[in-house]
């Protein structure tokens, strides 16, 4: 199945109930199987600028490369798949763009952004992230976080200093330990997961998971899996009903069919004719 037919993508972003402007940015490119979400930070409108640069650099560059290349191609030197390399390289490219803009324009000094991106191909999803924007996966009835926040709180949880229950009432929720555009270099965390038919992937800014319990996210996605736009709307509404203290963005990707890259000459020929 072509990726356009295999995936269903919806996204919604909302300023929330307290903030006057929205510093989150989202981009979706169904044709190349890409979703990107970023949560910017910085004074005045610098947050929007940073998150806007991040999603546009990643979305444009990755898709442009994939027009005449296959994401499963392997780099001869490193042996890495092109899809993995593209995601990492372009998050780093976005980092450089934001960093340079911040260096050269005083009103943007210190701006930065989180990012979470998913590139779907060959029945898999490559997930890249920096900071505390998350990707969740609903498989069957089970909701799992498949990214691990780059935050002080997560490090405390990992170090056994604070329990997950206590972490819910922590006042250190807003301290990220990694961000795009703050330093000259950034190391994105990249993982590859199998994508199964029926999976729903949720990308969100912390405005969702700080305001809505995972249990409510799970029940919403499970109950509303047949109506993704409504599910996205419901998630944002729950964040706002609970106070909406931050911008809230959600992107949902549902896998409706297999999207394996054709292998072998006969399959490739068939695929070519189908185009």
């Amino acid at each position: 199945m072509k990726i356009e037919d295999a995936l269903e993508i919806v996204s919604q972003t909302n300023p929330g109930m307290v903030r006057s402007h929205n510093e989150d940015s989202v981009a979706q490119e169904l044709a190349c199987g890409l979703v990107v979400l970023a949560d910017g930070m910085g004074g005045y409108n610098a947050g929007e600028v940073a998150s806007g640069i991040a999603v546009s650099v990643v979305a444009t560059e990755v898709c442009q490369h994939l027009q005449d290349a296959n994401p499963t191609d392997r780099d001869e030197a490193s042996g890495e798949e092109l899809g993995v390399m593209l995601l990492r390289d372009n998050i780093q490219r976005a980092n450089a763009s934001i960093f340079h803009a911040a260096q050269s324009q005083p009103q943007y000094a210190g701006m930065g952004t989180t990012i979470v991106a998913g590139l779907f191909y060959d029945n898999r999803v490559v997930v890249g992230h920096v900071g505390d924007s998350r990707m969740y996966r609903l498989r069957g009835e089970v909701l799992e976080t498949i990214t691990r926040d780059h935050s002080l709180l997560q490090e405390q949880i990992d170090g056994g200093m604070i329990s997950i229950e206590d972490a819910r009432v922590s006042k250190n929720k807003n301290l990220v330990t990694r961000a795009v555009g703050i330093d000259a270099e950034v190391v994105p965390e990249i993982h590859v997961h199998d994508a199964l038919v029926g999976d729903i992937y949720l990308l969100c800014s912390d405005g969702l998971n700080d305001m809505v319990e995972d249990e409510d996210i799970q029940s919403t996605l499970y109950a509303m899996q047949g109506n993704l736009p409504l599910a996205a709307e419901q998630l944002i509404q729950m964040a706002n009903d609970n106070g909406g203290r931050d911008n809230v963005s959600v992107m949902l990707v549902k896998v409706n069919g297999e999207f394996a890259v054709p292998r072998g000459w006969l399959e490739k020929l068939r695929h070519w004719f189908k185009k």
């Binding site: 307290v18 490090e155 961000a179 509404q237 009903d241």
Partner: protein, 268 residues
């Protein structure tokens, strides 16, 4: 750091201690940060570790132990207004974001420049005390205020410790509407499950089966709503078919979904 401890005995406030250091000790001996000169208090009785806006209390194997809100404890994640008792002495923990200069500042995402990973590299899981101790020993484990790059507001003043008065005036919280509405129930009127009651205790209750025919009942601060999610037939309320928009339910509304009738009503 605006959190503080207020020391009192028999209802008389003795002193206030802002939690200005990453680790502060409480004990009888003079080298402690908070000295309580009483024989019921051990030489080094307890420690408070403060990491940004969170503080943790830990008993340092004291002879007489300590209580938090009336419960004996070895270690405790302090919450605003917790009452720590050591013998006859009481220490009230105050960390009230609403009383801060600008509560919104605390919610802006900020970047910690110096990674604090070294704090507890692969610390033994499940033993918070070990984590605390490593935190103390590791030379790089100082996530002090100066290592924070505050990208939210460049000119934002460091929040001052609240005024000396122990009474912090209540400041209006930003519009938080977490209060749940009145309890409600759906009772099935027809079909094999007639008479069954479904209490709407969750924020979202599913009617039907995902993939086939689904409507959801959502609980919101200002009431209950029914929304059509998927399936060929839309639910009906009091005989009227619903569109795609959520519909607010009133007391004793009759819902009909896939041939089954049920009544919505408020409880109590």
């Amino acid at each position: 750091m605006a959190a503080k401890l207020i020391l009192s005995m028999d209802g008389v406030v003795l002193k206030e201690y802002p939690l200005s250091k990453e680790r502060m000790t409480i004990g009888r001996k003079a080298h402690n940060d908070i000295v309580i000169d009483n024989l019921a208090v051990s030489g080094e009785h307890a420690a408070i570790i403060t990491i940004q806006h969170d503080s943790f209390l830990e008993d340092l194997d004291s002879t007489n132990g300590l209580e938090v809100n009336g419960v004996a404890t070895k270690k405790h994640f302090l919450q605003n207004n917790d009452l720590v008792e050591i013998g006859k002495y009481k220490l009230k923990y105050v960390n009230d974001q609403a009383g801060q200069v600008n509560p919104a500042d605390f919610e802006k995402t900020m970047v910690l420049r110096a990674p604090v990973k070294q704090a507890a590299p692969g610390a033994e899981k499940g033993d918070a005390t070990a984590g605390f101790m490593k935190m103390q020993v590791a030379p790089n484990a100082k996530p002090a205020a100066e290592s924070i790059e505050k990208t939210g507001r460049f000119d934002a003043p460091q929040p001052n410790p609240p005024a000396a008065s122990p009474v912090v005036p209540p400041v209006a919280q930003p519009a938080v509407a977490t209060s749940a509405p009145q309890a409600a129930v759906v009772q099935i009127l027809t079909g094999p499950n007639a008479g069954k009651e479904l209490e709407l205790v969750k924020n979202l209750t599913t009617l039907g089966k995902p993939g086939v025919q689904v409507a959801v009942l959502t609980r919101r601060p200002h009431g209950y709503f029914i929304t059509h999610v998927e399936g060929a037939s839309h639910p009906m309320v009091n005989g009227m078919s619903l569109g795609d928009q959520p519909h607010q339910l009133n007391d004793h509304d009759v819902i009909e979904l896939a041939g089954v009738k049920m009544e919505f009503y408020f409880k109590g």
